[in-house]
């Protein structure tokens, strides 16, 4: 394998692993915040126990998120030194600010975790959620800003191979930042909520502790409520993204839709198999005119096709599948959460029917897979550029030797960390009854003496 490919695989495996923990890290705080709020407001120690148990598991994932985040932060310089040398001149500001946001979050998370019950007024402990949510969300905002810059660079001018008139704020607030931040944050909140919904559904299916049923039903309701709102926002964000790509990054949109001829009334192609020679798509589901409509809210919108883009700037066409999977998984989670509330509304149906519980259980894993597919789409869709229009990935890779060894070492690391993390979390909660925790923390519930 050549170094460019090796470098890309190393970065992809680090990010592919890190994004799981980063998404959890951005999303879970808001769920904890809601649960602690409900607990204090309704004086219900079940919600407080939820907040506390989730926070306990959360710390383990945060640890993995922190170390993998450290890895990617340094790996950017180790694998793509030329990119960072150039990027440092223009886009260092949000990277720098991200460390502050994370610093802020880490401090308050430390305080939050070790001060349950140390405040006389419970609302004071609840207030600690605010800096945590702000810090974790801002981390996502700043990092997304850097990634957006790679897609839609701004804030500088090129004059004879050197960058002049550098404006770090304009680089940070580059054209795609708003759309992408919205998308990233909404999906993180959504995915975190659905993962917790999956856990509640799983616990209800397993039914290991009969006395915990009420607790898990409540957890399911809260997480589904957050999930349905956030997935709706995600759909809005996705719509903005499509329109944005149409205007600013047409080659990405064309590649992900297998759209070759520039035309109005363009069809939306779902799945299918591409015959690249003849530019024919077989076995696909075609929605007439839908692509034009999604791109500009009108069937008359002219959508640029790949044939009008220089061939050496075509992103890999496989991103079409990542796009379809992302949309399908996201829509699944949205659909299921809507069904939950519909079924719940009609008292003659049971929203905790086993078949439905299995459907709920899938929302978390599928949302996470949607996140993964979305990032593969976003990153591969930027190819061949590392900074679109200015620097190619191939120009940025290190000339140091040993990338193959580095790749193997990191893959082993991620496998080991992934398994140990899962093992620790399962050990932590598998044999532990929520009602027992509640009795232990608050002396209330069926287990309380």
């Amino acid at each position: 394998m050549d170094d460019v490919l090796l470098g890309r695989i190393i970065t992809a495996s680090t990010l592919g692993f890190h994004i799981i923990f980063a998404t959890i890290g951005v999303g879970i705080p808001i769920v904890i915040m809601v649960m602690e709020f409900l607990g204090i407001k309704k004086k219900d120690s079940q919600y407080l126990t939820m907040a506390r148990r989730i926070a306990k598991g959360f710390t383990v994932t945060v640890a993995v998120g922190v170390v993998t985040g450290t890895i990617i932060g340094l790996q950017l310089s180790l694998i793509w030194p030329d990119f960072m040398r150039l990027g440092g001149q223009i886009i260092a500001l949000p990277l720098f600010m991200e460390t502050f946001a994370f610093f802020f979050e880490a401090i308050f998370l430390g305080i939050f975790l070790y001060t349950w019950g140390r405040f006389k007024n419970p609302w004071h402990h609840w207030l600690l959620n605010i800096p945590i949510v702000i810090g974790s969300t801002l981390s996502a905002v700043f990092i997304t800003s850097v990634n957006s810059f790679m897609n839609t660079p701004a804030g500088f001018e090129l004059s004879e191979e050197t960058f002049v008139n550098i404006d770090p704020v304009a680089a940070m607030l580059n054209p795609s930042v708003y759309v992408r931040v919205f998308h990233v944050v909404a999906t993180a909140y959504m995915t975190a909520a659905f993962i917790l919904a999956s856990i509640a559904a799983y616990k209800l299916i397993k039914n290991k502790f009969e006395k915990d049923r009420e607790y898990h039903k409540k957890a399911l309701k809260v997480t589904m409520s957050i999930g349905v709102i956030m997935s709706l926002l995600t759909i809005v964000a996705g719509d903005f993204s499509a329109k944005f790509l149409h205007n600013e990054q047409p080659e990405k949109l064309a590649a992900m839709e297998w759209h070759f001829e520039t035309e109005t009334h363009a069809d939306l192609v779902l799945f299918g198999i591409l015959d690249e020679e003849n530019q024919e798509v077989n076995y696909a589901l075609r929605i007439p005119w839908a692509l034009s409509f999604l791109s500009g809210n009108s069937f008359d919108t002219e959508v640029t096709g790949l044939n009008d883009i220089p061939e050496e700037e075509h992103p890999p066409l496989v991103i079409h599948y990542f796009f379809d999977l992302m949309v399908m998984f996201g829509m699944y989670a949205f659909g299921v959460s809507v069904i939950y509330f519909i079924v719940k509304k009609f008292t003659r149906f049971n929203e905790h029917h086993p078949a439905l519980l299995y459907a709920y259980f899938l929302t978390g894993p599928l949302s996470m897979m949607a996140i993964e597919a979305g990032w593969f789409l976003a990153e591969m869709g930027r190819q061949p550029w590392i900074i679109r229009g200015y620097m190619r990935v191939a120009e940025a890779v290190t000339n140091a030797e040993g990338l193959g060894m580095v790749l193997i070492a990191f893959i082993i690391l991620y496998i080991v960390l992934g398994f140990t993390c899962a093992y620790v979390l399962i050990k932590m909660f598998n044999n532990s009854s929520a009602e027992s925790s509640r009795a232990e923390y608050y002396g209330e519930g069926v287990d309380a003496k």
Partner: protein, 344 residues
Amino acid sequence: MMDLNYEMIGITVLWTFLYGYIIVAAIDFGAGFFNYYAIQTGQHRKVSHIIQRYLSPVWEVTNVFFVFFFVGIVGFYPDTAYYFGTTLLIPGSIALILLAIRGSYYAFNSYATKPRKSWAFLYGVTGLLIPASLSVVLVISEGGYIYGDGDGVQLDVMELLLSPYAWTVVFLAIILVLYISSGFLTYYAAKAKNESAMETFRGWFMIWTLPMLVISQFTFLSLREHNLEHFVAAQDYWYLFGLSLLSMIIAVFLIWRKRHFGLAFIMIMLQFGFAFYGYGISKLPYILYPYIDINTSVVNESMAFSLTIAFILGLLLLIPSIILLLRLFIFNTEYVEGRNEEGY
């Protein structure tokens, strides 16, 4: 835009953060090692409680210091990404893997239902290996280990492995970690009024004072062999190194006489601080000799300006937060003594 000397602002801020990182990380790394040592030698019950109480709430903060430093240095001096990035692929990856293992297994071990000895081993041993591997960066920055060829720059691995200076710095880093950490834990145990733990930590501290003194001398001698120019420059700041030695004498004396442990730890910080700044100032203007000179490799002015503003605003946010953290966990007698068992 203000006309400021950004190359000096940047390096001062970064060097200070590196100083902060080394102090908190040394405490953290050493504590992990001592924790494992205590398990092995059956002193676990006596000391681990103290170690855990300090480590638990602050380890992530330690890590952020490190991230802050390397993000900051790439921001202020983008050339560092190129030179260090290219040459440190292998040593940097090793350090990252060790850091990842340490951070994760620390969390796994502390939050898991049942702690495991093998996990304590992982985060104990990595606590010594990480400073060793990170110190290689400072070694390389002295120059002489990097050569340029047609494709760019390369690290001369053999030169590095056979270099007395490199090995001296590696051992300096390890001894420093054990020295600073045992000094801090002595203070922390004394504050917790845990007499027997304090005695144990104090014993460890006294053991590491002599190696500390010896290795510092060796570092000077091998620097003279390796980079005479820097060694000569360092002699201009002889008073800083003298103050460092004086601080060490006071610290050791206080801990030996079991007096004013807090002041003793401040002296340890000063001892390291004087030496660290003495080393840093005499190294200027080079970050990486002779490739990266702060005057020529500093980032463009508008970026330097915005980074400085961001830094000031960030500090305004962070300092009160850190004070809150310290007041709750480090300087809160109730927490330190373990009288408040809330939380988990």
